[in-house]
């Protein structure tokens, strides 16, 4: 039997497959399957920790290579060398051989050591340069201190020699011999000094600490270095100060040294002799020059090396990432030591089995191995994962559904009708031809520039819109249509056809209109309703009924899928116990309401000169006083009261059926099966004394079947499949479940129908808002005349257009989209969606690279 084609209507048919792979080609096989991306491997070593698995060594090695590559990348970022984009390569997805991987690992190892040694020497040189620069500043600034201080040595001396000297003497008669004494050294006076640099923010603390510890016995001088010093380790700019401290006595100098070092100051030696100092400065300058040229050379070499790496870094990263994924997958396999075989289990779409087999054959042939890779289909009771093959058009719509819940395997996929209903319900709320056109054009632009946009980095909001570009396209198309129906384009009318209304009065101006005989406006709303006094009265009534009718149609449509589901899963009780009573209940109340709305429209009430009955009151009376009408003289149709009583009875009868039929049927079926001697798996009731020992043995084994030994991988796997996923029959649970379902269904019929009124509310709000916007901007501009009028129109037009795009299209569009989303998730999907499936997560290099893109 050929498997049926996979469509979006149901999830793809899946099979559990077992692969027996020769150990030698395990890596190649998995890598080929990763390119295919159709197999969801099950973890057969779930109870082994990550460290105990077979290929942990390889993964560690690749982790190391990956770390090295990331190191290159960060180095390139620091040197601002761009990486060659992955998209510039023709085919980066060819799988490399094992020896190529080894080569790559060795290469990156040697490159890493080279880069890091280059970096190290660069950093050392840089540090040296900073030190020299600081020293130069100290020499320069300290020189100034010395020159100033020297001028005062004499006074210092004098003041120290005779304490009783008058304080004001030096003011009155400046010392004459200062020049002569200038060369006299400080050391003569036993005054020592410390010079260095310190970060500027620490200078205040530094001063305070020095002052306190030395009790003021110091003379400190400092000045700011005008240029910022770059810290080679952190690459940050630090502004620093040069300081020089004079103090008396060796111990004190040592203390000052200690304090300044502990505060992070760098001390430099400065000679007090100005001649020597000049030499020092000279020397520092030459050394700085030498260093600069060496630094430049190192930097050039480093950059050249990094540029060479940058050319091929992207494919390397891709290769390593893939390789790591391959080994992580191989770790899920069980290894048969005796036969040197790897055993894998995977879910795969049945339709892809042929492709898988031929791929494996290719790998085998390439390796020249005589032992073939065996693909086995395994029968199992496990529920397969849900998989839909989507394309770029359907992907976003399917994502809407998947965001709510994973669809059960082979259940009807609500994603298929969502392609139309989601944008359509959006458009009912967003109906405006102009705004629809803007959406449509924006979506077209995004689709046209799909490739460049998908490769560039987008911000979060825009990337979300870009992801849903085909949804936006459909929304735009349907909004244009509903805009035509509502006869709105940027809140202005669209007179496509002659109106069905003529203004009354002698000069044809109104105030009231009369109908053109026997003519109804053929497409959409009549444009004559625009700007009339009572257009809201008409459009509210119309849109309210429109939303009820569309809601009824949408819910009936969704309810029908539960029938299709029950047919497919062969559970007729769901048809008789859920679908049919539910459908009758819903139709006899809300189907009748929909019918009444249409019927009331079809009758020409003016012609038969009768007051039309109010439908809302009719529905209320139908429940409160069955059999009577609000106005018995003017029924909607003949025999209305009787029909309503019958409908109400039908709805009421359906409630107990909905409530009891399914649980009692299930109980009857269960009891019948038990009476015939069937038992559930794992039910521990002793049937005979002979089984006694076996039971005991099983209980010892944790209630599971014996596991078999580790050597026998096959046995272990098949045992594992049977376990789990068997539920015991519990009547009370089913009953409670059904009670909840019934109450929910009946109440939801009311609340969900009311919920569709949001279609009316939002479309009304959208229309009013666009009218207000037009009146507040363009209308005012049009009323001006002359040159001011021209300028005003231009300015106001831009204002109006920007507000239209951002408020009416983006903001209102988002809100309409969210409401449409809710109508799908809650109102429609609650009617049929089961959604307890597992998502299919195939091992695929493509998704792997999409999830963690290499930029």
């Amino acid at each position: 039997m050929a498997p049926s084609k996979d469509t979006l209507f149901r999830s793809a048919d899946m099979s559990l497959t077992q692969l027996y792979i020769a150990n030698e080609i395990g890596r190649e096989v998995v890598s080929a399957l990763g390119e295919l991306g159709v197999m969801d491997f099950r973890d057969l070593n779930a109870d082994t920790t990550a460290f105990q698995r077979t290929f942990t060594q390889e993964i560690r090695r690749l982790d190391n290579v990956e770390r090295q590559l990331r190191y290159f990348h960060s180095q390139m970022d620091r040197a601002s060398i761009p990486m060659r984009s992955i998209y510039d390569f023709n085919n980066p997805f060819t799988s490399p051989s094992a020896s190529e991987i080894d080569e790559l690992a060795d290469k990156s190892q040697s490159l890493e050591s080279r880069i890091s040694s280059l970096n190290e020497s660069y950093e050392t040189l840089k540090k040296r340069e900073v030190e020299l620069t600081e020293w130069r500043w100290v020499l320069r600034e300290a020189g100034g201190f010395f020159d100033r201080a020297r001028g005062q040595t004499e006074e210092i001396r004098h003041s120290m020699d005779n304490d009783d000297a008058p304080l004001l003497r030096d003011v009155e008669q400046p010392p004459q011999n200062s020049e002569a004494a200038g060369d006299r050294s400080f050391s003569v006076m036993n005054i020592g000094f410390v010079a260095g640099v310190i970060p500027r923010e620490r200078i205040a603390a530094f001063e305070r600490i020095l002052w306190r510890t030395l009790r003021g016995n110091l003379y400190m001088n400092q000045s700011e270095i005008p240029e910022a010093i770059i810290d080679p380790e952190t690459n940050e700019e630090v502004s620093k100060n040069v300081f020089i401290i004079f103090a008396h006595g060796k111990e004190i100098i040592a203390k000052i040294r200690k304090i300044s070092e502990s505060l992070g100051a760098d001390l430099y030696s400065v000679d007090e002799n100005s001649e020597l100092r000049r030499d020092q400065i000279h020397e520092v300058n030459t050394r700085l020059n030498d260093l600069a040229s060496v630094l430049r050379n190192t930097k050039q070499t480093l950059d050249a090396e990094l540029t060479a790496i940058s050319r091929s870094l992207a494919p390397w990263m891709t290769i390593i990432k893939k390789e790591k994924a391959v080994y992580e997958t191989l770790n899920k396999f069980s290894y048969d030591h005796q036969r040197k075989t790897l055993i894998a289990e995977a879910w795969a779409p049945t339709n892809s089995l042929g492709l898988i087999k031929s791929t494996l054959q290719d790998v085998n042939d390439r390796a020249g191995l005589s032992v073939p890779t065996i693909v086995n289909q395994v029968k199992t009771t496990k529920t397969p994962p849900t998989y839909f093959k989507t394309n770029k058009f359907t992907l976003a719509f399917q994502t809407i559904i998947d965001a709510y819940g994973t669809i059960k395997y082979r259940e009807v996929n609500p994603g298929l009708p969502t392609i139309v209903t989601f944008p359509f319900l959006f458009a009912v709320m967003f109906g405006d031809f102009g705004h629809g056109t803007i959406l449509f054009l924006a979506a077209l632009a995004m689709i046209y520039y799909e490739k460049p946009l998908s490769r560039s980095k987008l911000d979060e909001l825009f990337s979300m819109i870009f992801y849903g570009r085909y949804i936006v396209l459909m929304m735009g198309i349907f909004s244009m249509y509903t805009g035509l129906i509502y006869c709105d384009a940027f809140s202005k009318e669209l007179p496509l056809f002659p109106s069905m209304w003529k203004w009354q009065g002698e000069d044809g101006t109104g105030p009231e209109a009369v109908r053109v005989d026997n003519y109804t406006y053929p497409f959409g709303m009549d444009w004559r309703w625009h700007d009339t006094e009572n257009d809201l009265l008409f459009s509210n009534s119309y849109k309210m009924k429109l939303s009820i009718l569309l809601g009824w149609a949408h819910m009936t449509f969704s309810l029908c899928w539960s029938f299709v589901n029950a047919r497919h899963f062969k559970t007729p009780i769901d048809i008789w116990g859920n679908f049919i009573p539910g459908m009758i209940f819903f139709q006899s109340i809300f189907g009748y309401l929909a019918f009444s709305i249409v019927y009331k429209w079809c009758v020409d009430w003016v012609a038969i000169s009768q007051d039309p009955p109010s439908l809302l009151n009719m529905l209320i009376y139908m429940f409160l006083q069955p059999g009577t009408l609000e106005n018995p003289d003017a029924p909607l149709y003949h025999g209305q009261a009787k029909v309503q009583v019958i409908l109400l009875m039908m709805a009421l009868i359906c409630v107990p059926i909905l409530l009891f039929l399914k649980p009692f049927y299930l109980r009857w079926e269960h009891n019948k099966a038990r009476a015939m001697g069937y038992r559930g798996i794992g039910e521990s009731i002793r049937v005979s004394a002979l089984d006694d020992d076996d039971e005991e043995g099983q209980m010892l084994n944790g209630g599971r079947e014996s596991f078999g030994d580790d050597e026998d991988g096959v046995a272990m796997i098949t045992q594992d499949i049977g376990a789990g996923e068997h539920e015991e029959f519990e009547f009370s649970e089913i009953m409670i479940h059904q009670v909840i379902h019934t109450i929910e269904f009946c109440l939801n019929c009311v609340s969900h129908t009311a919920s569709y009124l949001r279609l009316w509310a939002l479309s009304l709000a959208h229309q009013r808002l666009s009218i207000v916007l037009w009146d507040m901007t363009m209308n005012i501009a049009f009323s001006m005349t002359g040159i001011t009028g021209v300028i005003a129109i231009v300015v106001v037009f831009y204002l109006w257009f920007i507000l239209t795009v951002f408020v009416l299209c983006v903001m209102e569009g988002t809100s309409a989209m969210l409401h449409s989303l809710r109508l799908h998730w809650v109102e429609a999907m609650s009617k049929h969606f089961m959604g307890d499936g597992m998502p299919f997560e195939p091992f695929s290099f493509k998704t792997l690279l999409e999830e963690e893109p290499i930029e």
């Binding site: 109804t520 053929p522 429109l546 429209w601």
Partner: protein, 78 residues
């Protein structure tokens, strides 16, 4: 020109459109998507049009103007 028959004609047109799109949908793995999208779109658009048409078929109120000069406006409510 446009009267009750329009509804029937419109319905017939949509039914024909649906039948045509069922058979003319491009073959291949996207056939289901084509079919469901075309048919559902047609039905949804028809529903919208038909409801709007029905609402105006036998209208119970007539448009009243708001923008007339005061001497033509017998009952200004402002």
């Amino acid at each position: 020109m446009a009267n009750g028959w329009s509804l029937i004609i419109g319905l017939a047109f949509i039914v024909i459109f649906c039948i045509v799109s069922w058979f003319a949908a491009p073959k291949g793995e996207n056939q289901t998507v084509w079919r469901s999208t075309l048919i559902l779109s047609a039905v949804a658009c028809f529903l919208m049009w038909a409801i709007t048409f029905l609402a105006q078929w036998h209208p119970l109120i007539v448009p009243r103007r708001l923008d007339l000069r005061p001497e033509h406006e017998p009952s200004r409510r402002f």
